[in-house]
Amino acid sequence: MKIEIRTQDYDPWHEISSYQQQMSPGSYGATAVFVGTMRDFNEGEDVEAMLLEHYPGMTEKQLETLGQQAITQHELLDLLILHRVGEVRPNDPIVLVAAWSAHRKASFDASREVMEKLKSVATFWKKEQLGEGARWVEKNTPG
């Protein structure tokens, strides 16, 4: 399992293929991937950029815990979670969850579950930069 909070832009597809190289070929039969990217609109307003903040030391531990739970519960072969902090622009990836398993159900279920837990529990906050002014995002959209 790999968990990382990134301060720089990343290419999720490159991250997945690069991470897969340390896995034994033929050992997995399913890979489920979720990539969350930044929209340029929210609640009827154009959003130019977003600042993502986290609680260093707490957030990493939360992601480790929920990742380990998903691996155990769904018998995953491996799991990769990346999350951006700092300034992001429209279309930049924010979060990547990739789950590897023998069969599809486990990786589908686990990637969804990890994402929902991450959104409801992990200590990240977003501040949107609008054309005029800025505002903190107060709640996440329902899954």
Partner: protein, 76 residues
């Protein structure tokens, strides 16, 4: 006993500072910590953690604790 208090996101901006250090004589509840640092502001739409784990509002502090207050999370 000394406890460190941290604020995040919109709350940090409202408080106008990143945190506080409190010197208290005996264990107090998280609600009491909030009242001291905020001058009795109402406890609205806030979460708290103690030593980097979510905490209950009636949980008691211990010497050396790192307490944090923050708004609901919005990651992902």
């Amino acid at each position: 006993m000394h406890i460190t208090v941290k604020y995040f996101a919109s709350l940090r901006e409202q408080m106008g500072r990143e945190g506080d250090i409190l010197d208290i004589e005996e264990p107090i509840q998280m609600t009491d910590v909030w009242q001291r640092v905020s001058n009795n502001k109402p406890l609205e739409n806030l979460l708290c953690s103690r030593n980097r784990q979510y905490a209950q509002w009636d949980e008691l502090t211990e010497d050396g604790d790192e307490i944090a207050f923050f708004p609901p999370v919005t990651g992902g």
